[in-house]
C-alpha cells in the first residue's frame, strides 16, 4: 500500500523551529496538508475538528504533554485508531516503554533526519 501523500498530518510541538523543521521534512517527503499545535490541549481541539491521518507529537510540552495527549487520543472512541508517532528528546527506555503501553505507534529520538521520519511514517501508515 503506497503512502497517501494527501492525508492531513498534525504536528504538535511547543518549539516553532521544530514545527518548521518537521513541516519542511514532510514537504520534502511530499506531504502538503500539514497543521500544527503548540501543546496537547491545542492538538486535541484540532483533532476533534478535523480527521487527521497521522499525529506527530513532542513529549515535553505544557500544559498538556505529548504523553497525556496520546492517552487522551487512545481513550477517545473517535480518535483511538489515529496513528501516533512520538518525536522527542525523552529517550529513557522507561519513557519509550510507557509510550508504547499507552498506544504509541512509533517513537523517534531527536535529532533525526528525513529518512528516519519517512521510514517511521511508512511503518505506521503502511507503504
Amino acid at each position: 500500500m503506497a503512502l497517501d501523500l494527501g492525508m492531513p498530518i498534525l504536528v504538535v510541538d511547543d518549539y516553532q523551529t521544530m514545527v518548521r523543521i518537521i513541516r519542511n521534512l514532510l514537504k520534502q517527503l511530499g506531504f502538503e496538508d500539514v497543521d500544527d499545535a503548540s501543546d496537547g490541549t491545542g492538538a486535541l481541539a484540532k483533532l476533534k475538528q478535523k480527521k487527521y491521518g497521522l499525529v506527530i507529537s513532542d513529549w515535553n510540552m505544557e500544559p498538556m504533554t505529548g504523553y497525556e495527549l496520546l492517552r487522551h487520543v487512545r481513550a477517545d472512541d473517535g480518535l483511538r485508531t489515529t496513528p501516533f508517532i512520538m518525536v522527542t528528546a525523552e529517550s529513557k527506555t522507561e519513557n519509550v516503554i510507557a509510550a508504547k503501553k499507552a498506544g504509541v505507534n512509533n517513537y523517534i529520538v531527536k535529532p533525526f533526519n528525513a529518512q528516519t521520519l519517512k521510514t517511521k511514517i511508512e511503518a505506521v501508515c503502511g507503504a
Partner: protein, 224 residues
C-alpha cells in the same frame, strides 16, 4: 572541654584560690568571645565590688565549656556566611547568569530562524541562467555563514555562566565544610512540589547529557 590548669571539682568541694582564678579567667575569655562574636565589640563587665568573690566562681565548668563551643561555632558560622558573599551572588552573579542564558536562548532562536529562512529561500530559487542561479544561492549561503557566528558569542556567554556556577559550587562546598552542615529534610514550596510531582509522574526528563539514553536502534527493536 577543659581549660589548661583547670580540673573539674566535685559538687560541694570548696575551690582553691588558684582554681577560682583559672575559672574567672576562662569565664572572662568566653564572655569576651561571645560579646565579640555577637556584637563585634569588646566585652564590658561591671567591676566586682571590692572584697567580694567574682560571680564567675559559681558557674558550672561544663556550662563554660559549652558556651565556649557555642562561641567557636558561631565564629565559624559567621566566617562561613561571610565567605559565601551572598550579596555579591544575588546582586551580580546570579542575575548575570540569568541574563546570559536568556540571551543565549534568544540568539540561538534568531540564528536558527535566519538559517532556516535562507535554506527555504534556496529551495525555491529560480533563474534562467546558471550564473544567475549560482549568484542567488551563494548570496543565501553567505547569510547562513553569518548566522552561524552566533556559536562564538553564545559559547562565550555560556562560559561566563559555567564560571559563575563553579564559584557558587565552590563557596557552598566551603560553607558546608566550615559549619559541618548536613542535608536536612527539604521543605518544598507547594508550587515546586506540584511541578516536581508532575514531572516525575509524566517522566519529563528532557534531553539526556551526551546523547540519547536509548539509541534509536534499541527503540526500533521495541517496536519491531
Amino acid at each position: 572541654m577543659t581549660s589548661p590548669g583547670w580540673r573539674r571539682p566535685a559538687h560541694g568541694v570548696r575551690r582553691t584560690g588558684k582554681e577560682r582564678v583559672v575559672l574567672r579567667q576562662t569565664t572572662e575569655r568566653v564572655y569576651s568571645s561571645i560579646a565579640r562574636v555577637l556584637g563585634d565589640a569588646p566585652a564590658e563587665r561591671r567591676p566586682e565590688p571590692a572584697g567580694r568573690a567574682p560571680k564567675a566562681s559559681g558557674i558550672d565548668p561544663a556550662v563554660v565549656g559549652e558556651l565556649k563551643e557555642i562561641a567557636d561555632y558561631i565564629t565559624r558560622l559567621k566566617s562561613g556566611i561571610a565567605a559565601l558573599r551572598a550579596q555579591e551572588l544575588m546582586r551580580d552573579r546570579l542575575p548575570m547568569a540569568h541574563d546570559e542564558l536568556g540571551s543565549v536562548v534568544a540568539a540561538t532562536a534568531g540564528a536558527t530562524n535566519s538559517i532556516m529562512e535562507a535554506a527555504e529561500a534556496i529551495l525555491v530559487i529560480e533563474d534562467s541562467t546558471l550564473d544567475g542561479y549560482r549568484a542567488k544561492v551563494e548570496s543565501r549561503i553567505y547569510e547562513i555563514f553569518e548566522a552561524c557566528t552566533f556559536q562564538d558569542i553564545t559559547g562565550q556567554r555560556i562560559s561566563k555562566v559555567v564560571e559563575a556556577l563553579g564559584q557558587l559550587e565552590k563557596r557552598l562546598e566551603s560553607f558546608a565544610t566550615t559549619v559541618k552542615i548536613q542535608d536536612g529534610e527539604a521543605k518544598l514550596d507547594p508550587e515546586d512540589a506540584k511541578r516536581q510531582s508532575r514531572a516525575e509522574t509524566l517522566m519529563l526528563n528532557g534531553p539526556q547529557l551526551k546523547g540519547p539514553a536509548t539509541p534509536q536502534d534499541a527503540i526500533d527493536a521495541l517496536f519491531s
